[in-house]
């Protein structure tokens, strides 16, 4: 199958976007590599603390005028951005496939979800309204006004390089705040493209800023006294540090962290009907998402159903076409980084050592198109997995499915709830009663019923519990509006 045209043809030198200008960084440069082809795409600077401070200062200086800009005028910039996102939809999507490795369908899905955040944030004139009650006492009225706070920042993950920053930034700027984003240095190019479009949309200088970099830049943002709040998506280990740092510096925080998601299959589930959802969940985005399926729990003591389901699952997984995502026939791309692949290989070794049975081994990948296999893995399936094994309890973040078996729904729910993580879980069943019981008792923030990926739409919060989330309010929707605003309460009497 012919490849779709690559939009990035030459190695780019990435810059920072501060106060409406593209400025070169003095920081060290790192290579950004296409994980499918191993070809360099860009050189990204590790911005210095001074450069981060300059971005925060630009955002702080832009804040007073921006907060006085009417909500209607603010969202007009977002309407223009939305139009530009549509115009550049395909280019943005292909850039994500180049920098991250995901398939073109997945990249387009990511672009669409990012654009939907902008669409929802254009509703700010309504979403940001406060509330009031007259005559709380004789002749006294009380009301709430939602006001912006100042500068917010986002420290972005590598797995959804385009979409995740958009869970936050449109809501932040629409409510009158200013923003600094730090993309992941592994795949920062789609954020550069987004910043170019934001610039073109007519946002005043300083309202939206981008600084490239790694841990030092992130720390500089988190420690900066002028940053009022931080949003972060990444691992639980780093997430806890981010949350702690935000606490120490008095910042609001949304910290979305690691996951170990369970997908339950009840004996009344359709075998063939669930396969596309399970393939997407376990192997979509090469298993590199916090909503990915990790543990497949087959419920019941019906051996015939177990064998039939398992055969179908392994057989379907074994036929997944792995290769470069700009080939439209590809269903799974490479791991984004060599480190990520190494970590997954380590877990496969650990699973074998723990006594789980490897029934589909993806360690020697067959790659369509003859690309170097450096970053690639094929789908991997373990069976006879015990709940206390490391492969069943720790986040692998790759295309590895662990199959467990339990007697009944109660046992399955207990297993889900015994996890340290609480990001997402799903049940596949034709029983409304079982689905309702699951939804009621399960301790995860996002719950799927006959769906493999429980990705909340832009107008709902992206939830999470336990070690998968630190904070109070979530990204997206009304939660995001509340996060980016302070409730000012006015009690009024006229004499």
């Amino acid at each position: 199958m012919a490849l779709l045209e690559e939009p990035i043809k030459e190695v780019m030198q990435l810059k920072n976007f501060i106060a409406g200008e593209w400025v070169e960084s003095k920081g060290e440069l790192q290579d950004v590599v296409n994980p499918a082809t191993c070809q360099p795409l860009a050189r990204v600077p590790m911005s210095t603390r001074d450069e981060v401070n300059a971005a925060v200062q630009a955002a702080r200086e832009a804040f007073p005028d921006w907060r006085r800009t009417t909500p209607l005028a603010r969202v007009r910039c977002l309407f223009r951005l939305k139009e530009l996102l549509e115009e550049h939809f395909e280019e943005l999507s292909r850039v994500q496939t180049q920098e991250h490795g995901k398939t073109i369908d997945e990249s387009r899905g990511e672009t669409r979800r990012g654009a939907e955040m902008v669409e929802v944030a254009t509703g700010i004139p309504s979403l940001m309204m406060g509330y009031n009650l007259e005559d709380i006492a004789s002749g006294i009225d009380e009301y709430v006004i939602y006001q912006p706070l100042g500068v917010f920042c986002h420290i972005a993950p590598f797995n959804f390089p385009f979409m995740v920053p958009l869970w936050f930034s449109p809501f932040a700027v629409a409510t009158g705040n200013t923003f600094v984003v730090k993309p992941s240095p592994r795949d920062p190019i789609s954020q550069v493209k987004l910043a170019e479009l934001i610039d073109e949309s007519g946002f005043p200088p300083g309202v939206y800023n981008l600084v490239q970099g790694g841990a030092e830049a992130a720390l500089a943002l988190l420690e900066h006294p002028d940053v009022k709040g931080a949003t972060f998506v990444g691992t639980t280990g780093i997430g806890k540090d981010v949350y702690r740092k935000c606490g120490e510096t008095g910042k609001r925080a949304i910290v979305q962290a690691s996951a170990k998601n369970f997908l339950l299959v009840m004996p009344d589930a359709s075998v063939q009907g669930t396969m596309p959802a399970l393939m997407t969940s376990f192997f979509g985005n090469t298993g590199q998402r916090c909503l990915s399926g990790a543990n497949l729990v087959i419920v019941g003591d019906d051996d015939a159903f177990y064998r039939k389901f398992l055969d179908a699952f392994v057989n379907t997984a074994s036929r997944i076409r792995v290769g470069y995502g700009l080939d439209e026939s590809i269903q799974m791309g490479p791991m984004q980084s060599l480190d990520g692949k190494k970590r997954v290989l380590g877990y496969i070794e650990k699973g074998i050592a723990e006594g789980a049975r490897l029934v589909l081994d993806g360690r020697k990948p067959a790659v369509i198109g003859g690309y170097p296999d450096d970053h690639f893995l094929n789908p991997t399936v373990f069976v006879d997995v015990m709940p206390d094994m490391a492969i069943a309890t720790e986040e692998i973040f790759g295309p590895v499915a662990c199959v467990l078996r339990v007697k009944n729904l109660d046992e399955a729910i207990e297993m889900v709830n015994s996890s340290n993580f609480g990001n997402a879980s799903s049940i596949f069943t034709s029983s409304g009663k079982a689905a309702r019981e699951f939804q009621y008792r399960v301790e995860t923030g996002n719950v799927g019923i006959n769906l493999g990926i429980v990705a909340p739409m832009a107008f709902f919060p992206f939830s999470g519990m336990k070690d998968s989330f630190f904070g109070t309010l979530h990204g997206q929707g009304r939660d995001a509006v509340r996060f980016f605003t302070e409730s000012k309460v006015v009690v009024q009497r006229w004499l």
């Binding site: 073109i104 899905g109 669409r112 979409m163 596309p276 997407t280 590809i330």
Partner: protein, 147 residues
């Protein structure tokens, strides 16, 4: 090779519509008496592409099964852009009817298999199948006529 991903299926639909449009455009020269009919059909094909692409790009989500929904054999729906050389008007129209029937079957299969995607995608496939289906009696009516 089987079509598995939504991107593949949408590209295949685009190619089918384009080949179909070229087929009708070639008829405007060969059977110019009905040139307006052929031109209209060719232009409608291109509108179908817009309709399917708009649905796909408008609702595609990484959360649904975009890469795993389909198992379509494209060979079942292969068509040619050029009518056979020296074919009569009657033979050519007959071929157009066969082509339309084949494309309708493709869209119906695509609609059936995309039920797990956002509803707009199977809906767009079904609408195009319906539109194309309505062409068949019109083409059949031309069969009795000499070009």
């Amino acid at each position: 090779m089987e079509l598995n991903t939504t991107s593949q299926v949408v590209s295949f639909a685009r190619d089918l519509e384009e080949l179909g449009a070229r087929f009708y455009e070639s008829l405007t020269r060969r059977h110019s008496g009905d040139a307006e009919v052929w031109r209209h059909l060719a232009s409608e094909n291109r509108k179908n592409v817009t309709q399917v692409e708009r649905a796909y790009y408008g609702v595609i989500s990484d959360a649904l099964e975009g890469c795993f929904s389909f198992a379509i054999d494209p060979d079942k729906y292969a068509i040619e852009a050029e009518p056979a050389g020296g074919a009569s008007y009657h033979e050519t129209v007959k071929r157009a009817v066969e082509m339309e029937e084949k494309i309708v079957r493709f869209y119906l299969e695509a609609a059936e298999q995309s039920k797990s995607l956002m509803a707009d995608v199977p809906h767009a496939f079904t609408l195009v199948a319906k539109k194309r289906n309505s062409r068949i009696p019109k083409l059949m009516a031309l069969l009795g006529k000499e070009g």
